[in-house]
Amino acid sequence: MKVGIIRFPGSNCDEDAWFAIVNDLREQAVMLWHKDTDLQGSDVVILPGGFSYGDYLRAGAIARFSPIMQQVATHAARGGVVIGICNGFQIACEAHLLPGALLRNDVGYRAMPVTIRVERTDSPLTAAATVGQCLTMPIAHGEGRYTASEDDLDRLEQAGQVLFRYVDSAGTPTTQSNPNGSMRNIAGICNANRNVVGLMPHPERAMEPLLGSSDGRVLFESLLATVNA
């Protein structure tokens, strides 16, 4: 598997994603600059976390117009896998690769471990997980409140596009376990074609016990299983 990691001015989880792919998964990764116009044969594209363009205007709004994003959109339209993590999720929404928007948290910036529940396994990021599996990984964001119209949310639920929800230690989505006020406790979704996935938590920062959790591994192993299938 070859993973292209897009580096925008202000990205800061690009190295974490690279480390997760190369050191933990022993697969190939390539760093792609936002001004590049070639994905260098990447099977999977990761839009990493950070503060692209200083989060000016709205988080992700300006990164969307980077030259490389044209290639990312083409890759996605061809069915190629695109994963947006945190700021990458915001960028994917702003680029209309994913529905909805990520607004300012209901309680300000949050950096803490959260528990998310896997809702579906028919996506490239959850193929190796099980439905109902609870994973602990960190979040670190100020704008992660997933928002869409009630009609759009109903459509997402019916189509099985909600992949992750914030839950408590018993695996139940509660107000208490929702760190940012996301509608319906949504932590991650996919597009209708199921090849573009976005999530606010950071699986790349939960790859080994030293980091406090290795629950992110199953998501990266899912990518590998999808690409090799």
Binding site: L57, A61, L103
Partner: protein, 84 residues
């Protein structure tokens, strides 16, 4: 001709606005009990070239649709178009 176009961008009504709510509560605690709601948005002052005020307005509307406002969660109003 050069125009200065003023745009207000606000969170769409009905969408939770934590920033507006925090400001409302601060005003209440200062004794402005009459304040029902506050919404915090952005104000943009755009200086641009156009053939007419209408053309400047139309161009700024296109800018809002494409970049300046998020069509999912925000509304925008072009408050004024002045020749400068």
């Amino acid at each position: 001709m050069k125009f200065r176009v003023a745009v207000h961008i606000l969170p769409r009504r009905g969408i939770l606005d934590p920033q507006g709510k925090a400001v409302t509560e601060a005003l209440h605690s200062l004794g402005f009990a009459e304040v029902a709601e506050v919404h915090v948005g952005r104000h943009l002052a755009i200086e641009t070239q156009a053939d007419s005020a209408d053309a400047a307005r139309a161009a700024v509307k296109a800018m809002c649709d494409k970049l300046l406002a998020n069509p999912v969660t925000e509304d925008f109003v072009i408050a004024s178009v002045e020749a400068v």
